[in-house]
Each structure stands twice: as C-alpha cells, then as structure tokens.
C-alpha cells in the first residue's frame, strides 16, 4: 500500500536530494537565504552531468543555456583560440551564471581538468520556476541581479583605477 502511495504521490527515490549538493547550494550566493523547501525545489530542476578529464563542458562562442555547480573534480576556464587558462575552479564553485539571464555566446570554454560531477541549472528551468513559484523565482533572480550588479560596480572601480594609473603614467612620461 505504501508502495502504491509513494508511486502515486511520493517524490520517488531519484528526486531525493543528496546531502552534499544541498550543502553546496547553501554556500552559493545565488541561493543564499533560501528555505529548505525552496532548496529542494531548486535541487529538483538541476541536471546532473559527469565529465571525463579533458572533456569540454561548454565551448566559447556557443549559445549559453545556464550555469554549472561543481560537486566533485576540477574545471578549467579557458580562452580560445590561444587555449589560455585564466581560472581553475574546484568543488563548490560555479560558472556560466551569466547565461541564466541572456543567450549571449559563452565568453570562454569550460573544460574538465579531472573527472567531474557537476550540476547544471538552466535558463528554461529558471523561467519555468518563476512561472509556477514566483516568490522563489524572484528571490533567485534578485540575488543574481545583485551579484551581477556588485561585479559591475567592481569592474567600474577597476576601470577607474586603471584610468587613474594611466593618467599618472602619462604625467610621469611628460615630466621625463
């Protein structure tokens, strides 16, 4: 009887969240402040993927569908065509989150540096979540906007610092 009930109304074994990914999700700023129920809703729409060493996760210039969260392994972020690695990401890190907001081509290639287990969080699923649970959807989108806003502010500050340094360099060059 319990079996029938769980088949009809249960969430099924496959949907039972793993403890590790739950802990990782809690530490990701985008999902900061979500309740246990809300985190379960997010877990349910994640896509689990496995990559071998040197396997491409996504490729530069291809359309982006969403972000990935590393559950195990190491991922390199590489700029093509020079194959220059400018970042290495580890367990708990996430990448590709800009693709959650637009379909602009990926700005770099992501490649597995060791056997990896990652969870994908994609734009169509986020939009569907916004549609059926707007309160949760808005929380995630707002956090995403805050993260991007703070990055923009940091980029502006860096740009201002660079302009200032450039001005000083020009001045010192003129004095010489």
């Amino acid at each position: 009887m319990n079996g029938i009930r769980s088949r009809l109304f249960g969430r099924g074994r496959q949907e039972e969240p793993g403890k590790k990914i739950r802990e990782i999700l809690k530490s990701i700023p985008i999902f900061d402040g979500l309740s246990k129920r809300e985190l379960t809703s997010v877990e349910r729409i994640l896509h689990e993927r496995h990559y071998q060493t040197d396997e491409i996760i996504f490729r530069q210039e291809e359309p982006g569908m969403g972000m990935y969260i590393i559950e195990s392994g190491t991922v390199g972020i590489v700029s093509e065509p020079a194959s220059m690695q400018f970042s290495e990401l580890h367990v708990g890190d996430f990448f590709g989150e800009l693709a959650l907001l637009d379909e602009a081509p990926r700005s770099a290639t992501a490649v597995a540096k060791s056997p990896c287990r990652v969870f994908g969080f994609f734009q169509p699923d986020l939009f569907s979540l916004v549609e059926r649970d707007p309160r949760l959807g808005v929380k995630i989108v707002l956090r995403l906007a805050q993260i991007i806003g703070s990055r923009l502010r940091r980029a502006n500050e860096q740009a201002l610092t660079l302009v200032e340094e450039l001005r000083q360099l020009k001045q010192s060059g003129e004095k010489r």
């Binding site: 949907e15 896509h47 290639t109 169509p124």
Partner: protein, 350 residues
Amino acid sequence: MMRTLEGRRIRPARGILVLTIVIVTVLGLLLVGGVAGLVVIAALLAYIFDPAVTSLEFRGLSRTAATVVFILSLTALLCLLSYFLIPILFAQIDLMRSEVTTEQTDLIISRLQTLVQQNLAVLGMEELDIHASIQTFKVQLSERVMKFLVEDSLALIIRLVTIPFMMFFFLKDGREMKKQLVQLVPNRYFEFSLDLLHKMDLQLGNYLRSQFLDALIFGAMSTVALWLMDVKYFLFIGIFAGLANLIPYVGPIAGVIPAVIVSVLETGDITKAIYVILVYVGLKLVDDFAVQPMVVARGVDVHPLLVLLAIMIGGHLFGMVGMLIAVPFAGFLKVVLQESVVTFRKYRFS
C-alpha cells in the same frame, strides 16, 4: 569529425544517432504493443493541459495536488457534459436509424435519380437507387456508432480509465521524464538538446493548444447554431465541424457539407440550406477575426501544397482520423525541423 582543445576526436553525428535509435526503439515497442494510440493521446492531452496544472501550482499547490485537482475537475466536467449530451446522442442515433424522408425529399431524390440514370447510364449507373443508398448509409452509420458505444463499451471504458490514468502521470512526472530523457544525451550535445527542446516546447505548445482550443470553440459554436436552427443531428455535425476546422482551406467547407445535406433532405428545399451556409460563413468570420486572434498566439504557416499532401497521406494511412491530424502533424514536423536546423547552426559541431 572535429578536434577538441586537447585533440580528442568527436563524431558529430554520434549523439544524434544514439538519440534517434532510442526514440525509434521506444516508438517501435509502443507500436508493437498496440498501446501507442493511448500513450500518444494521453501524452498529447497532458501536454495541452500542462499550463492549467502549472497555474494551479502558481496558486500554491504542490505539483501532485495540482494534478489531482485538475484531473478531478476535468472528470467532473466531462461527467456533467455526458449527463446532458449522451441522451441527445442516443436520441439522434435512433432518429437516424428509423427516420423516413419527407415527400418533398422523395421528389428531389427521384428527380436526381432520373437525371443520373438518363445521363450517366454509360457509366453503369442506370440501376442506381439513391433513396435506398441514403437509407443504407444512414442505417450503417448509426449502427456503427451504436456498435462502438454498446458492443465496444468495454474497450471504451478501458480507454476512458486508462487515458486519464496515464495523463495523471504524464502531468505529474512530465518534467522528470523530460529530465531523464535529456540525461541520455551525450555531453557534447547536452546543451544543444536542452536549447532545442525548450524552443520546440515554446512553439509547439502554443500551436497545439491554440488548435485544440479553436476546434473546441468552433465545434461548440457550430453545435449551438445548428441546434438553434433546428437542424437534425446537430450534435454530430457540430462536433464534425469543430474537428474539420483543424484542416485549413478544405476543413471549413467539409464542415458545412453535412449540415447542408441534412437540411435539404429534411425540408426538401434549399432555403434552409442557404441559411445554414450563411450562418457558417458568419461563424467562420467570427472564428477568423475574433477567436483565432485571441487563442492562436503564433501560427505555424504550412504551405497549401503541403497541407493538401499531408491530408492525402494522412487519409491514405489512417483514414478520417489521419486527415484530421495530418495538418497539426505537418505543423509539428515543420517546427521540429526548422528549430533543429536553426539551433544546430549556432553550435560548432562541424
């Protein structure tokens, strides 16, 4: 073939081949099992009604609770409709079996028969008995409907139970099923598949739902109009008109023909038939200028030649049902191919 960053070789067609094999195998097994029709109908209905369940989720219900509420509401609505419509349906079948034509109709048929016998004798039609043919056709049609309702009632009940049962699971677990399906796709084609499925879902969802809703509204309008005009068999003809409306160009004409024939046979005069045609023209105008702009979010343009070919092929393969689903199916294929090509071009597979 292409080379990855590290020089590993990837065959672009491999992923698509694997996916095609999986889909073909599943479809093949379903066809062999003879349950394909039921599964397809249940899946299609679940797909059409998915936004209704999502809107219940929006009101705070869990997916399971929303699905239960929706299925119960739909069952209640269908029971209510059946309570009113089934007696009318049986009455119309009885009428079709027993009815004799009026004197005026006999006169028209006799004239037509003389005309055919005199002019088309060369085609071997001198023995034609139109009156008997019409009567035989009506009896056969009514008997076939009655046989379907009474003798095949067990199969009908099984279908009526199985389809909502399957629909329940498609509605409740549809998202998880889709996720599991995408999980089978190789890593290289994973994002491409997600992208493609999402775009197809947007286009097809709108198209199928609007077609379904339009057929339902046009069918209801026709039934009510024919009932008000006191046309016999209004329920059969109205339902047929709604279904025929799914077929562009020829559908609206095919939908009005039974109503015209019944009107002429009933009164022996073409006056009522002319009114019926005028009402249908009015209904079609309402459909084109009021209903469709409201329910059809974005149409899928299918070329008239393709429509004709699709109807012929559908009719040849699956008869009347094939003709009705041919155009939506052609629209489905067009969207699938179009989106596949557009999305494929954006990825660097070759």
